[in-house]
Every structure is written in C-alpha cells, then in structure tokens.
Amino acid sequence: MDKIIYLDHYRTTRTSPYVLEKMRPYLEELFYMPVAFTQMGTDIAEAIEEASERIKKALNAPNSEIIYTSGGTQANNMVIHGIMRDQEPEQTGMITSVIDHPSINNAFDYYRKKGFEVKKVKVDEYGFWKTDQLEAALNDNSKLVSITLVNHTIGTIQRYNELKKIIRERNPKTLIHLDISMALMTQEIDFEALDADFLTLSSHKIYGPKGIGLIVSKRPVKLKPIFFGTVVTSPFSPGAENVAAIVGLSYAIEEAVKNRIEHHNNMKTLQKYLMNQIEMKIDLVELNGPVDERASDNINYSFRHIEGESIMMFLDFDSIVVATGSACASSDLKVNYILSAIGRDHEMAHGSLRITPGIDTTKEDLDIFVEKLVPIVERLRAQSTIR
C-alpha cells in the first residue's frame, strides 16, 4: 500500500508517541486502582490528581473541577442531562444552534420531546450564530446555552465573547456550556477569561487516546450525577477510573497548548496553500464556511455536479483519507445538517469534502492530494447526469 495521506483529523487523530509513552506504565505495572492508604493506590491517586492539575494549568482553570468522561459525546451529555435532570419542563429553557454537534443537538431534541422550551438559533451563510435570534431566544427561564466553539464540519469559530455578553446581560443565571473539542489545537483556551460554566473536550481529536474526554466545571459544580455506582474520585463519574487514558489526555492537552501557536501557523500556511491550489485547478468549487474567523486546520469545499462518496472512494484507492458531507456516505442517509443550515442545496452538500490536515501533514502531501483530486473530479463530472 502507498503511504497514507491522512487528511481527516477532525474525525480522529493518532495518539502521539509521547502521550502513549506517558500512558504505558498505567497499562502495564501501574494497573492498580486509586485505593486509599495503600502504596500502589496512592501512586495512582496521585497520578490522577497530577493529571487534573496539569489540565487546569494548561487551560488556566485553577478554580475548576475536572470531571473525566468516556469522550466528547459523553461530556456533552453529562453537562446537558446533569443540568436538566430535575428541571420542570414548563419553566426551563435550553438554547443551542442548528449546527452544533449531534451530542448537543440530539440531546436537546430529547428535551424538546419532553416539553422543555428548546430553541435552536439559526446561523448565517458562514455558520455564525444569528445574535438577534439568540437575544429573542433568551428569557428568564433560560437555564442553559450550549455552544460549539469551532464547528466540526466547516471550521467556523463562533464569536463567543459576543454571544456570552448577550447571554450574561439578558440572564446572568443562564449557564454557558462551551464545547472546545475542535478548538484546542488552534485556539487559545483560557477558562478564567472565557468565563464559561462548563467546557467539554474530546481526547482523540487532540492526539490523545480514544475513550476519554472531560468536563471543566466552575465550582461549585452545578450538575447532578446521571451515572451511579462506586464513587472513587468523582461523584459524576463513578466506577473504575480509566487511569492510563486520564494521564494520556492530560499530556495531550499540555502538548496542544504548548505547541498551539506554532501548529496554528503551520496549519494556516497549509490551509492557504491548499485553498489556492483547489480554486486555481478546479472550477465550479465553493468554500463552505467563512474565509476569516475559520479554524486554520479546516478546509471544506463543495464540487458542483458530483457526489462526495465517489470522490472520497477514488481518493481512498490512492490511500488519501478525507471526509464528505454526502448523504450517501453517512450512516443514516441524511444530508449533512450543517451544510443545509448554511443554505447549501442538496447537490452542494452531497458534493462536499472536508479536508482537515494535522501535525504530520506536509505541503507535499497536499500536492499529491490535489494532483489526484483533479482527474477524479474531471472523470466524475464527465459521467454525471448534471451538466
């Protein structure tokens, strides 16, 4: 097989060798649980404590509570259900946007069915929340606003400070939940400055292991547990601690924050280069999402007259990995809801590719990608029903 050119880092990243090395002892000799008053248990408890301190330092969250979860999806669900569990539907408002991550969006749908006042703010053609809709959605009942900082499909960076100002001014009691999963690699994350009530994060998007994520919460934690069992370190995540993954995640966060500016600059250079190449060499393409205020590691184009699964598969034959918003390639045959929400017609949504470079990506990789992509687009257009 050829060298794999992996341009799908928004789906998942490989665990970095450094992180893996830090995890290894906890998968081998340090397999124990954090049991009090025992030598091995104390070592483990300390390792978890140190991991949490490492994370708080990296995210400037000295006065926070770190809650470990099984991933980003569970983190978002634990925040939403943890707040809503005991609320009365008639007096409880919940706000998110139409393009937020499914782990938020679908959880909100559940509460809508239960009779909660669920509002999904519309976005403009670039994926920015419409602030007038947010203002209209807020009221005295607003309990929670969930915001995804960087959109996982089109890379839009929400104008968080503007949204926060609107929320805090209208209802200071409204809790703000910010999902930073796609943001940490390229955006500055300062928990104190962000002043969100909760941050959520997934590990495998930032070169950490799969199966772990976290919630950073203000103190006191305004959540109710939704899982029950033996409380070892946190009442919110009872049961055996995923020690190796916790340690791994903490180092992955530390690395991401430490290398952020350099990584962002690299990504910006590659992003500009690839966008130029695509727009120069292929006609009838359109960028999805904004040009400015866009995460530097996200590129998303629609190719007119052709369908994305076909493009994706031909690239796959050449060991190039990208993602598509086509319904054909999705598990539920639905057209990508984000592309629909920013006003793309079905043809444009089906013909979209999400290209997300990562730390190993080189300019040469992008050259090979474009070199392969051009004839694929040409041949698929030549045999298309749409002219």
Partner: protein, 211 residues
Amino acid sequence: MAVIKYTKEVIEHFKNPKNVGEIENPDGGATVGSPACGDQVTVSLKIKDNRIEDIKFLSYGCASNIATGSIVTELAKGKSVDEAKKMTWKDAVDELGGLPPVKVHCSVLAVDGLKAAIQDYEEKKLGIKHERKIDEQSIIEKLKSVIYPKTGHNIIDEKLVKYLKYENGKVEIEISFDETDVYKQNVLEEIDEHLHEIDGVEEIDVKVVEY
C-alpha cells in the same frame, strides 16, 4: 456494528464503468431520481428489431449508483425489450455479488431508469399508451420500490406500512418506526419521491405511528 463495504465486483464497475455516456438520437431515454436525494441516473437506448442494440447511462451519485448503472446496462444490452422489462433490481444486486442493505436503493433506481427509458421508447416510437389505474394495489406495488436501508428489503415486505388508503388523488399512509430508527427521514423522503412519480397522486399524507 455492521461492516459496510462493497464487493470487488462493485468496486470494479465503479472504477471502470461500462456503457457510460449518452446515445445521440436515442429511441428511448429517461432520467430518474434527483440530486436532492443524492442520486440520479439517465439511461438512453437504441432499439433494433425489438432488441436493445445499444444502451448508455450517466450517473450522479455514489459508487453503488455508478456500479449499478454499469451492471444494469450491461445486463440489458442485447436483450429483447420484453426480456429487459422483466429485469429486477435483484438481478443487478446478484450480478454485483451483493450490495450493502443501505445501498440497495441504488439498484432499484438503475432498474427504474432502464424501465422508464423502455417506456419512453414504447410511447414515442410504438405509440403505446401506458395508462395505469391508480388504486391501493398499484400504490403498494410502487412502495415496493422503497427500500428500508437497514435490511435492504422493501418497506412493504418489511411490514413497516400499517395502513394505506387511496381516494380522489390523496394517499394516506401510516408507517411505524422504532424511536431510535436512523432511517426514518430517509424512508419518508423516498416514499414522497416515489408516490409523486405517479400521475394523479396529488396529496400524500404520511403518519408515523407507534405500534
């Protein structure tokens, strides 16, 4: 989780599709599906002595859309018109060594394209009028073209349709899904698309019910 992958026959027809293109001055032709649904096929025919002498297709769609267009045209070529009319999507799927259930609808579309092109030929060249009576039975037949992506079987055989009534251009359907069924929206769109193809159907009312 189900492993969703294509057979080597599908991959081969996707990579090197047969009969791609458009016949100039065809004896019959049709375009079925729509970009909105993610797939569209155009079929054009040359008929000589009541046999399909040449056939070509164009495709907007995924790998299985292209592969089924290729195999259906390949199977139809050289057949008499009557033989070709008897072809089913199962013939295409078998020839491809199977399709993932979620992709079976592509083969239905390709065969529909072939049949619509033949119908066009019969109407334009032979002057045969295809007047169909619309009744509950003909609607059920039409709904047999709607594939449930979870199993690859049609929604009638899957017994998803619990109630059906046709009166004065209006179709009423009740259909049931589990709460967690991810294909609900897709099936509802497919029902709408297929029933709107029937001349005379003006209103479609589909209710999702729990049984």
